[in-house]
């Protein structure tokens, strides 16, 4: 995770680098992999 210095010398995640956002990206990727796997299995069954 990218860290930047704030005005109070503390640290916080850079804008747009939220854990929730990263999770969303992975969930979308997992959906794509699951869909590809299911379509491939379907084609093997009738191939």
């Amino acid at each position: 995770m990218q860290i930047e210095q704030g005005p109070d010398q503390g640290t916080r995640p850079a804008p747009g680098v939220s854990p929730a956002g990263a999770t969303t990206v992975r969930v979308v990727g997992a959906a794509a992999i699951a869909l590809a796997t299911s379509v491939a299995i379907q084609n093997v069954m009738f191939g």
Partner: protein
């Protein structure tokens, strides 16, 4: 065909169940992709909207295809020869399948162009999407012939294989993503977490 359905009811049940699974997976993926595209500056948003619309159309036609398949397989075990109703259900099932091809092709092209425009995928995946989706569109143009059992169907099969490869490649890139960095938008490496030097 009747005998095959009478003996392979379980196989059809699995395939129809998979169609039900594809509905949330494809809609989830396409709407998620649209959200990612919007978050990364909106380049390719038009293409991702096209992908969502085409994907919903594809799933609607797929539902019809699955329903007609169920209508063909259920009475198959009790028939000694194909009835007119069985043949009608089977022909409509084949026609619905043929119509899924252009809908899937449009979905594929829209998703591939949107993902590349927003920097989520490299150029080869855009090319794969346009070529594979184009083949599905060309195959879909011969819908009547495909429904009648024509080998024209095989024009679309490489497009279907390309769709599987594209989905897998895109999925792996997204799952391996480090973060959605605003200063690295439009770079595929930013989405995948792979180093530009490697």
């Amino acid at each position: 065909m009747l005998a095959w359905h009478a003996q392979n009811r379980v196989v059809v049940a699995i395939a129809v169940g998979q169609e039900a699974l594809h509905l949330p997976l494809l809609l989830g993926f396409l709407t998620g992709l649209h959200g990612l595209v919007a978050r990364r500056g909106g380049a390719g948003a038009g293409w991702s909207r096209l992908a969502v619309a085409a994907g919903a159309t594809y799933l609607a036609v797929s539902a019809l295809y699955a329903v007609l398949w169920i209508g063909a397989v259920l009475p198959a075990a009790e028939l000694s020869e194909p009835s007119p109703a069985f043949e009608l259900a089977w022909q409509m099932h084949a026609a619905a399948f043929a119509l899924t091809l252009p809908a899937l092709g449009t979905t594929f092209i829209g998703a591939a162009l949107a993902a590349h425009a927003s920097g989520l995928t490299p150029r080869w995946q855009r090319s794969l999407g346009v070529a594979g989706g184009g083949l599905l569109l060309v195959a879909g143009a011969g819908g009547l012939a495909i429904a009648d059992g024509s080998a024209w169907l095989f024009v679309g099969l490489p497009g279907l294989a390309a769709w599987i490869v594209w989905l897998l490649a895109t999925g792996v890139r997204l799952v391996r993503a480090r973060a959605d960095r605003p200063d690295e938008r439009r770079r595929p490496d930013a989405a995948t977490g792979t180093s530009a030097q490697s």
